[in-house]
Symmetry: C2
Subunit: 68 residues, 2 copies
């Protein structure tokens, strides 16, 4: 199992949290996603390490951005 943490900007409410979580959960191998609205911190657990670009693309698809 692998755990990676990202900071996502632009989330303002629980709907935003759900959107980000739903998109990331669709990535292959992802088993859990935790999103903290207050900090923007997103913790992704997966069967194998994820490609950061894939996570960033999922966040972008939801309408938000990963802070670099």
């Amino acid at each position: 199992m692998a755990t990676q943490t990202y900071t996502v900007t632009g989330m303002t409410c629980s709907h935003c949290v759900n959107s980000v979580g739903t998109e990331i959960k669709q990535l292959p191998g992802v088993t859990d996603v935790e999103v903290d609205l207050a900090t923007g911190q997103v913790t992704v657990t997966s069967e194998q390490p994820l490609d950061d670009a894939a996570v960033e693309a999922a966040v972008d698809e939801a309408g938000y951005a990963v802070a670099r």
Copy 2:
């Protein structure tokens, strides 16, 4: 046709706008709902005048509040 305007507080993003609009559209006789995120102004068009309490209940159901 009747048009009534309300100010809804707590909406922070387009998901919130959609939630409020979806709940109000479920009220009998409602034909159109316009929600302005920046001002919180919600304009409801309906076949006959709506009971304010019904609109307030719909907004509450969505997780927001009508300002008095």
